[in-house]
Every structure is written in C-alpha cells, then in structure tokens.
Amino acid sequence: MQSPLPFFPEQASNFAGNVDALFSYILVTAIFFTVLVSLLAIFAAFRYRRKNASDIGAEIHGNTALEIGWTLIPLILALGMFAWGAVIYVNYRTAPKDTLDIYVIGKQWMWKLQQPNGRKEINELHIPVNRNIKLILGSEDVIHNFYVPAFRVKMDVVPGRYNTMWFRPTKVGKYHFFCSQYCGTNHALMGGWVIVQDPAEYAAWLSGESGDVSPVSAGEKLFTQLACTTCHVSNGTGRGPSLNGVYGAKVLLADGSIVTADEGYIRESILQPKAKIVAGYQPVMPTFQGLVTEEQILNLTAYIKSLQTQPVPAKGAGVAPATSGKK
C-alpha cells in the first residue's frame, strides 16, 4: 500500500492539507530557483570554459537593474510564503471555543493523558473524529514536545507553564505521536499512538471500566485535603478570596492592575502565591511548590474551573467588580 520511498505522510487533520499545500508552494519555488541557478551555472561553465591558458574574461562590473531585480523578486515571493505561513500559524495558536480538552503531562520518558471524564491513559490518546481537540500540555521535569506527524502539529511541553495545541482529526485511524524535543536517555522511546475513533466508538470507550475519578472530583478532594478550604471560603468570609466564578474572570490585584484568571494564573497562584496578590488581601498564603505534582495541580485547576458557575459572593470574591479598572 505504502510506496517504498514515501514523500508525504498521511493527512489526518484539518491542518494537514493546508500545511502540505504551503510546503508544495515553497517546494515548487525552491526547485525553480535551484534549477534556474544550476542551469545558468552549468551553461556558463561550458559556454565560457577556458580555451587558451592565457584567456581572461570580459570586462563586466555589474548591473544595478539586475541587482534590484534579484533583490525584489525573491523578496516578494518570500513575503507570500511568510503571509501564508502566518495565517496557518495564527489559526493553530488560536483554539476555537468548542474544544474537547484533554490534559497531557510529559515526564521522562512517558506521556500521561487524561480525558475530561477522568479516564487516564499512558502513551495512548483516544479522540473522536471530526471534533476540535485541545491538548493542555504540562511537564513534570524537562522540556518535551508532543508531535503528531499525520496531523502536522507539535508543541513544546515546558515545565513551569502550560502550552496548548489544537487540531481536528479528520480520519479514523491509528497514528504515531512522538516526543520531538530531546529530553534525555529514552527520548526516542517517549512516543505512542493517537487513536482516532467514530464518535459512537469513542463514547463507548470513554464509558468503559477505568475506575479513574474525574479531575474535578479529585481536585475537590485535594482542595479539602490541602486545607485550601480554611481560607478560600466560598461565601467570601475567609482570609483568602472566594474562588467562585474566578476562572475566566478579571481579577483586581493589590497593585491596581487587572489580570485574567486562566490556567497559568491559577497555577502560579498555587506555586508562587506572592507573585500576584488579590486586592484587599494579605500575602499570607504559603507556597505549594514541591508539595503537589503536576497532575494534582491540573486536578485543582479543574476543580477551580468547575466553580466558574457557582454564585459569586458580593463581598470577599476574587473577581474584580465590573466597574473597576480601565485597562
């Protein structure tokens, strides 16, 4: 089925066709210039080969029109490539709203992946076909990179922050994924399979026996275990702000600035609580750096995200009043 000398890998995502088309455009331009310059050089080498040992070349110094021409034409072609590439990249970096969010954690040398309902996998990722998928990527140790050649997408997985990537698989099948950022001894073994299924098949797989609890309930349990509840009281009467409705909202800080509470902000508030203090509160929260794993942070984040729909207390909320702040 596969040619012995394959050229394009399989196309199995919304990005694959466009990336291949852009690649082909650059390739055609590159081949054109390679052939043009090579033919000119070969032609000149034969046409102007030295016939007598004493021959010298013609007296030609240059030609400004030519110089301008071969500066401008490549420049225009290059800007075309830039623009097309920029469109794909901006699309890739801007995930749509309706994504199925899957948490991915890289560690030396394996991948841990978790579905929204809590089902966990190692080195395998089950996803439904024709659905927008967003991967939220975190690392336990060094920098990794999640790469699916058939989808033409990859993204670094950087410790200390979350990166996201999105794509829409367009073909049912089984595809390689690799770690493509060198991460130590078994870097080459740190891969697995993306399994793209029919929605029905995926739903059946998802509801299968796994015994895993969902990240939200795991996070809720942790929230109590780590005694977060002592200060972050939901009705706003604690030493820390209530977290109801915080996720995705604007937060007014002690220095007067306003930030949006996204995954990165929540993560930072857990690990470096003194970095951004909510207005009206004291910097009394201890750091949880080293006390919680990446997975636990994700669970806590999932729980805090689930509080988005809870009623925000009038006083003692982390959320900035709609009137405050002009930035």
Partner: protein, 558 residues
C-alpha cells in the same frame, strides 16, 4: 607535455616563514600570524576527526531501526559531542582562525595582525577550552545536546556538563580576540592604495564575521556561565522549580547561536567570492552589493533568533515578527548567489580543484538556503521543527556550505601556505566523491524529516529505515571524501611540486609575495594601484607571457 618543458624550473625560496626558525619553541611561542594559522589548522583538524568519528558512530548505529551498535545513553553522548566538537571547535574557528589568520595581513599588505601576541593568546585560550571539553568527553561524556537546553542540562543530566560548559565558555574568548584582532587590522593596517572598496571580498566577509564574533560571543559566555552556576550551585535562573524560566535560556542561547551560523557561513562565502573571480578570470559581479550583503547578513542575523522557538509557546506576535525578519535575512544570501553566477557570465572558466569546490558550494548552499525557507515559514515549521528536516538543512549550510568553502580555500591557498602544489587529479576526484557522498548522506534526511522522524532518536519506527540506510551509505562515501584531502594535502606540503609565487594566477596581494611568504610577508610594503579581481590591467600576472610563449601555469594537469 612539450609546452611544460619550456617553463622554467621552479624552486622553493631560500628564506620563508617555515624555515625562519626551528624547534618546538619557535612554533609554540611564535607571534607570526602564518605560523599561528598552522597551529590552528592542526588543532581544528584534530577536533574535526573527533567530531567525524562521532558522526560515523551515529550513522552506523542508525542503520537499523532498533539501533544495534550503541546504548541509548552512549548514542545521546555521541550526537552531543559530535555537535560540540564540530560547532565550537571546528566550524567556528576553521575558516577565520586558519585561513583568515593566514591571509588577512597578506591580503591587505600588512606585516602581521595588529596584535600578534593576542593572536597567539587566542590560540592558547582555544587549546585550554578544548582541553576542558575533551576532559568532559572522557570523564562521563556529555548528553545534553549541543544546545544545552535547560532544565535538562542544569538539573537532570547525569553527564559531565560542567567541564564542557567551562570549556566552551573559555573558547569563546579566543573567538572574541580573533574578531577584535581582525577588525583593528582591517581598519588600521591596509597598505597604501588598499581602499575599502579594493579589499578582497574575503576580507569584507571576515569584517562582517568579526562584528558578529565580538557582539555575539559574550552572550553565549554569559548564558553558559548562568547555566553552569545553576548546575553547580543550584541558583535558579532557568529551573522552573526554583522560579526560573527555561525558555529564557533558549532566548539567550539562540541570541548567540543563530548569529554563530553566520560566523560559520560568512567566511565560506568570502572564500567563494575569491575562487569564482579567480577561476573565471573576471571581476566579481556587483562587488558593492556582495560586500553590503555580508554586512546585511551580519546585522539582520542578530534579529532572527526566536525562529528556533516558534513552538515553545512564545507569543504569536513575536513569532510573526521573527518569521518576517527570517525571510528578510534570506534575501542578501540570494543576492550573493545571483552575483556569483553572474560572475561566471563572459568569464574564462577553468575547472581546477578550488573551482570545483566553488561549484559544489553553489549547489549545496542553494539547497541549504532554500530549505531554510520551509523552516522560517511559520505554517510549515509547525510540522518540520525538530525533525530530520532541520538536521538536513543545517548540514547543507554548515557542512555543504562552510566545509566546501573551507576545503576550497585550503586547496586554493595551499601553494601559498606551503609553497607546493597538491596532486590535481586526485584532488578533483576527491571533490567529486565529497559532493556525491554529501548529497547521499543528507538529502534523504529532508524526506525523513517531512515524514515526521524527530531528531536525536537512537531508535526509530521501521518505516523510516530506507532513507536511514541511504544516509549511512552516503556517510561512508563522505568519510573517504574527507580523508583523501587530509592525506594528499599533508603529503603535498612536503613533497608536492614547487608552486611558485602565483600559480593560478590570481589578483590578490597575497600572490604578490613569494610562496611560502617571508616572516615579514613582503620585502617592501606594497602599493595597490589596481581594482580587485581586475585581470585586464595586470601585466604582472604574466598572462601575456603565457600567450606569447605557450607556457602553461605551473599547476597544469599532471
């Protein structure tokens, strides 16, 4: 050959820099730029062999998908030490410290570089840095990749990172000193009549390179110093567990290491700009544009570093700006290429070995440069970043470009450096072997990359095997292509036919003195009255005599 018999028998000059003094002290304490160049030649060749040995191990290991030769840890050490030896200890010093050191004073009509003792110091600094790095290689090796990405290098690696970092830190100073020496020399020591626009393009290229060396190298020194302190003393600059930022390391690292690519390729472009006019016997087409292109590359080259980081999660806007600037930096390289080809038009072209290397350079640099477009382009980089496509691309530039330039230059100036010719036909065949072997080694890697094979894999899925076998086969041919010149150039230095002052003939000032030159380079300071690469107003080149008597130049086909 009957015509050759008419040529006067050439003899080596009685006094020259090689026989001016004798003994090991006369070499190790020399302040003669030409002898220092030969010291560099010996040391970079040593590191080239080390790096080449690692490369062979890598290619042999990858012959089968499961990798039969090395363990994962050994393989990771091999590719890391291959990169470190080749980049920091061979490619960066090769053309500037060997050919540049030897030729810049000769080309501008000076007795030596501006600071001869600093020049010698730079070699010792290089040797000390090299010794630390060798110590790292034998005392546990290095497995971080030549890029030293944190926190892998500073926290997680179990290899000898600290001595390697110290070694590269130290070696950087040799680069800075060399660049400083070149800049001052080119500014202040040009012979009467050697105006800026009469400078050989080789000197222009080294001027641009020196700027990059002086401005860029301190940044890698700082970066590696910070990484070393994090590893040794646990200071959290880059380790996120201590509040550091691992991406900051990449910004600092590539701020030097991208311009470092131009430290490797600009001097090679300078060599090609000498070879093509000489062997086409014609002025360089668009001299001012080629010189300006060198400077443009040096300047814009400092503004493209995050194109190595499009997928680290950096801001989308930053990625757009850096991709745009990356396309801009491609333009001066294109301009140079067009000018080289235009120089051929209407020339009188011979196919001596250096010219074969120039043609080889043109072909490989074209492919290497154009494949850079795929990587600078945001849309395609998402797919091919960190795959074999990148490996193939930068080998086309740094091996196909820089080493073709270096070998072309060595052949071209070998008669000046040693006073003797290499065996012409053997050299031509070697150049051909090298070209074929190179393409067979690295072209399949483009295909591997687009198919999705990531870099730095000690094992790989079986569907990638065909291209890996081709690549390994090519590497064995390539190895022969490198060994042959090492052998016959060494032989020629002692036993080759005596070359005479200007065997090609070429127009540069370095050919106006004897071969090998005197320690002082010139008996009297030369005065330059001609334009660069002008064969028309140069009766001193002896081409009229050739025409009159049918005497062929000394290197003729034998």
């Amino acid at each position: 050959m009957s015509t050759a018999a008419a040529a006067p028998v050439k003899t080596m000059p009685e006094h020259h820099y090689l026989n001016a003094t004798y003994g090991i002290r006369s070499w190790l304490l020399t302040v003669d730029h030409k002898r220092i160049a030969l010291l560099y030649l010996a040391s970079v060749t040593f590191f080239f062999f080390i790096g080449g040995f690692f490369a062979m191990m890598i290619r042999l290991h990858l012959l089968t998908p499961s990798g039969y030769l090395l363990s994962a840890d050994t393989y990771n050490r091999m590719f890391t030490m291959h990169g470190v030896a080749m980049i920091f200890f061979f490619l960066i010093p090769s053309i500037p410290a060997v050919l540049g050191n030897f030729l810049i004073p000769l080309m501008i009509g000076a007795k030596d570089l501006a600071f001869p003792k600093i020049n010698l110091l730079s070699w010792y600094v290089y040797v000390v840095g090299g010794a630390f790095t060798l110590y790292s290689m034998v005392s546990g090796g290095l497995d971080t990749g030549w890029t030293f990405y944190t926190p892998l290098s500073t926290v997680y690696s179990n290899s000898a990172v600290a001595p390697a970092v110290v070694g590269i830190f130290i070696t950087g100073f040799s680069s800075i000193l060399t660049g400083l020496n070149f800049l001052v020399t080119i500014h202040t020591m040009r012979a009467p009549g050697m105006t800026w626009f009469r400078l050989p393009m080789f000197v222009w290229a080294h001027y641009a390179t020196s700027i990059v060396m002086i401005l860029g190298t301190p940044v890698i020194a700082i970066t590696l110093a910070l990484a070393g302190m994090e590893r040794l003393f646990g200071l959290g600059f880059f380790n996120p567990a201590m509040g550091g930022d691992p991406i900051l390391f990449q910004h600092l690292f590539w701020f030097y290491s991208h311009p470092a690519v131009y430290i490797m390729i600009l001097p090679a472009m300078g060599v090609i700009s000498e070879l093509i006019p000489t062997f086409a016997r014609k002025q360089l087409f668009g001299y001012h544009f080629v010189a300006a292109a060198s400077l443009a590359i040096a300047v814009i080259g400092f503004l493209v570093w995050t194109h190595h980081m499009f997928l680290t999660g950096q801001s989308t806007y930053a990625a757009l700006v850096f991709s745009f600037l990356t396309f801009l930096v491609a333009i001066p390289s294109a301009v140079k290429t067009f000018n080289w080809v235009a120089t051929l038009y209407g020339g009188s072209i011979s196919f001596d070995t250096p010219m074969l290397y120039a043609f080889g350079f043109l072909g490989l640099f074209l492919i290497g440069g154009l494949t850079g477009l795929f990587l600078g382009c945001l849309g395609t980089d998402i797919h091919i970043h960190d795959t074999y496509f990148v490996v193939a691309h930068f080998h086309y530039i740094m091996v196909g470009g820089a080493i073709m330039g270096y070998l072309g230059g060595l052949h071209f100036w070998w008669p000046k450096m040693t006073g003797r010719m290499y065996p012409e036909w053997l050299a031509r065949i070697s150049a051909l072997i090298l070209f074929v072997g190179f393409n067979l080694t690295f072209f399949p890697q483009f295909l591997l990359g687009y198919l999705g094979m990531p870099r730095r894999y000690h094992v790989y899925p079986p569907e990638f095997q065909v291209y890996n076998v081709m690549s390994t086969a090519g590497a064995s041919i390539l190895a022969i292509g490198y060994l042959l010149p090492m052998i016959y150039l060494t032989w020629a230095a002692f036993c080759g036919k005596v070359a005479g002052d200007n065997p090609w003939p070429a127009t540069g000032l370095e050919w106006k003195t004897q071969s090998p030159p005197l320690t002082e380079n010139f008996e009297v300071t030369p005065v330059v009255t001609w334009e660069p690469y002008d064969f028309h107003n140069r009766p001193d080149l002896g081409l009229d005599a050739v025409a009159a008597n049918g005497v062929v130049p000394a290197h003729g086909d034998d």
